[in-house]
């Protein structure tokens, strides 16, 4: 590697990109799951089924 310095930008972009992607993906999945669970809970309340 002597005499051929590595360009750091692609590595920095890849590390931050992958990290942020995983965090955003998980967070959005949780928020969407919450909406679905609330809808289910609401449907159960509306049918008036015994708990």
């Amino acid at each position: 590697m002597y005499g051929t310095p590595t360009d750091p930008i692609p590595y920095i972009a890849a590390a931050y990109g992958i990290g942020i992607f995983i965090l955003v993906f998980y967070s959005v999945w949780q928020i969407r799951t919450r909406k679905k669970l609330r809808a289910l809970e609401s449907a159960i309340h509306e049918t008036g089924a015994p708990s």
């Binding site: 992958i18 919450r34 609330r38």
Partner: protein, 231 residues
């Protein structure tokens, strides 16, 4: 339902606030932190990698806390929080491994090496994954909760081994530069940025934990209700 909607909006708002804080810290690390004399600019990956690792380790301690709580109090609530903790802990361990690998390529010349620090961190990820597979595959009940709690305590034992691995064995990974005898070898400006990033990432992780735990509780209530209707 109005209260639930309010709570969900607050959840999203707090998540966005934590994300903005983390974004500001990462931007500061990328733009304003001093350049490392030995590594050059590529060391800036560490503002993502090191806080992720610290958060993953912190969550193993939290998992141990919830596991002990489950074992002694025999509380199903503790098991639920433990499961959410293991999930978030796994995410941060995966991020640690991936960002570390990307940093390792230009710094060490390899994407991966079976050295003690990397291998024990991979074991932590496998333990978290094993814990989640175990809790998902067993029938719910006190027996599953107790066995999962025992596994949760074992997971936490791996973290001191990860921490000491670079001093116990000869490794490619460098020895501690932050928490070491004689003080940190890092520039104080770098340490400040790193601590800021860790604080922001911990907030984000706590938000993820809270969101996941509430979802698991909701899911549990719906399942209990469904079983009640069918029995």
């Amino acid at each position: 339902m109005v209260d639930a909607n309010k709570q969900d909006r607050l959840t999203v708002g707090l998540g966005l606030a934590a994300a903005v804080m983390a974004g500001i810290c990462w931007f500061y690390g990328l733009r304003f932190a001093p350049t490392d004399q030995a590594q050059g600019e590529v060391y800036r990956i560490l503002y993502f990698h090191v806080p992720s690792a610290f958060t993953a380790f912190l969550f193993s301690a939290l998992l141990m806390f919830f596991s002990i709580w489950t074992l002694f109090k025999r509380s199903p609530g503790g098991a639920l929080w433990a499961k959410a903790t293991a999930e978030v802990g796994l995410i941060f361990t995966i991020i640690t491994l991936m960002t570390g690998s990307i940093w390792g390529r230009p710094t060490w010349g390899v994407w991966w090496d079976w050295d003690a620090r990397l291998t024990t961190t991979l074991i932590l990820a496998l333990l978290y994954a094993g814990y989640l597979i175990f809790t998902s595959s067993m029938a719910p009940g006190p027996s599953r909760d107790r066995m999962a709690a025992a596994l949760g305590v074992i997971i936490a034992i791996d973290v001191p081994i990860i921490y000491k691995s670079v001093t116990w064995w000869r490794t490619l990974h460098q020895p501690p530069s932050l928490m070491r005898q004689g003080g940190s070898t890092m520039d104080p400006a770098m340490v400040r940025t790193l601590m800021m990033c860790w604080a922001a990432m911990t907030l984000l992780a706590v938000w993820m934990l809270w969101t996941r735990a509430v979802n698991l509780r909701l899911q549990q209530r719906i399942e209990e209700h469904s079983h009640g209707v069918h029995n």
